[in-house]
């Protein structure tokens, strides 16, 4: 599988993150989005006329929507990540995949406005993003009351991976996450998953690794 990828793209990170979590090796093809505008080059437009990334190709299959790519990777290698195989749970996952697009269009667009000088009505974008973040917070707090840490029950699914990047990077778009305790705990749960990988702006949980070296008094005792 080839992933046409850009390191700073949250949507590409969705795919890299899921692949890392399920142990799927991808051949990464770095697209020079900035400053090269390579995603709008003839060869890339031939692959994806929409001119967006990520793009995933596998044999004859070409996928250009990151949530569809998540669905494909999970179905291919790790179906548990699709969510429990019930009507309600499958719909719940689909609901959050669509919600992830709202995050891209609001929090993602606010971030692009602030960081990449992309056009947009920043107040309107932040208003839409705040509404989405409040919905997410309410849903996650309802889940916590039932002992659930993730969006579709007690195990992570592609729903969590789809929503996570634009939420974690929301502060880049002038949207602090301070008001959302359940979102903070949910992001911790995702960052604590085995195989979690970082992207610029989203760091790992350092506390999961042991202290690098002993405390000063121990060092001095050893030296004495």
């Amino acid at each position: 599988m080839i992933l046409y990828d850009y390191i700073l793209s949250p949507s590409c990170y969705r795919v890299r993150l899921l692949a890392a979590l399920i142990g799927r090796r991808l051949d990464l093809w770095a697209v020079d989005v900035h400053p090269g505008q390579e995603h709008l080059s003839e060869p890339m437009l031939a692959l994806n006329p929409a001119g967006t990334i990520p793009v995933l190709t596998d044999d004859g299959l070409v996928l250009t929507e990151s949530t569809a790519i998540l669905t494909y990777l999970a179905a291919h290698d790790a179906p548990a990540w699709l969510g429990e195989d019930t009507a309600a749970m499958r719909a719940r996952v689909a609901q959050w995949l669509a919600f992830a697009q709202r995050l891209t269009d609001s929090a993602g667009a606010a971030r692009a406005h602030d960081m990449l000088l992309a056009p947009g009505d920043i107040d309107a974008l932040r208003g839409q993003a705040t509404q989405a973040l409040r919905e997410l917070e309410a849903a996650l707090s309802a889940g916590r009351r039932r002992g659930e840490s993730f969006l579709a029950g007690n195990r992570p699914t592609i729903a969590d991976i789809a929503c996570f990047p634009h939420v974690a990077l929301a502060p880049d778009g002038g949207l602090p996450l301070d008001p959302y305790p359940s979102i903070r705990l949910w992001m911790r749960a995702i960052r604590a998953l085995d195989g979690f990988i970082e992207m610029p702006g989203i760091h790992r949980l350092h506390e999961l690794k042991p202290e690098p070296g002993p405390m000063p008094e121990v060092i001095r005792k050893e030296q004495a």
């Binding site: 409040r134 917070e137 309410a138 707090s141 309802a142 009351r145 039932r146 301070d178 008001p179 305790p181 359940s182 903070r184 705990l185 911790r188 760091h203 949980l205 350092h206 506390e207 202290e211 690098p212 070296g213 002993p214 405390m215 000063p216 008094e217 060092i219 001095r220 030296q223």
Partner: protein, 231 residues
Amino acid sequence: MGMMGAACSDPCASAPTPDTGDTVPTDWTPAALSDDIPVASAAPGQLGPHDLAIWRSASGRIAAWADRCPHRGMRLSHGFVRGERLSCIYHGWGYGEGGQCVRIPAHPELTPPEAIRVPVFSVAEASGVIWVAEEAPDGPPPEFPGVVAFRSLQVSAAPEALAAALGGTGTVIETVLGGAQVVALIQPLRGGAAGLHLLAPEGSDPAALDALSAEVEALRRRVEAAEEMTA
């Protein structure tokens, strides 16, 4: 403790309103719910003009510190907890009891000077709520029998407007919301906003709590819409 100097004169100290039956005066300010800051984690908070890093050690000790690493000013609430220390995410400087710096990873053999110390605020937990203050108040924060911590929300409206919508004044309002007897704790936030820390009846079933959650979201919409009209 209260190392930040003079007692604050801004809205972080709640005005006592003894003539209101449903309002309990307290010198503490509600800052978060205990369940929202589990062991070995840190979260941002506010107290008047101060940004706080509220964190819980591996042994369960809660602390509220200035949210600023003395080294380079990074927010300590972005940091990480190992054992009984909070470390800065930027260069890993580790701080222990009383905000004292105890470890500088780039100088592993150095015992950090005493001057490298994070300002510490008073903090106490009661009824599942984390309360903070600049100067240690005379008594403990209030206890509320029969209710348990439910949700914290931020409301883009003045604390007074939120209190009025809940039918009270000040920091602590005991009221009925969506048919449930609740305790609403109101925290003044910067930028004309308010924190609402809600306590719900003990033993409520999930459906009742979902209904209460929807009720408080609706209340927030009403208060914010009214605030926008007057703005």
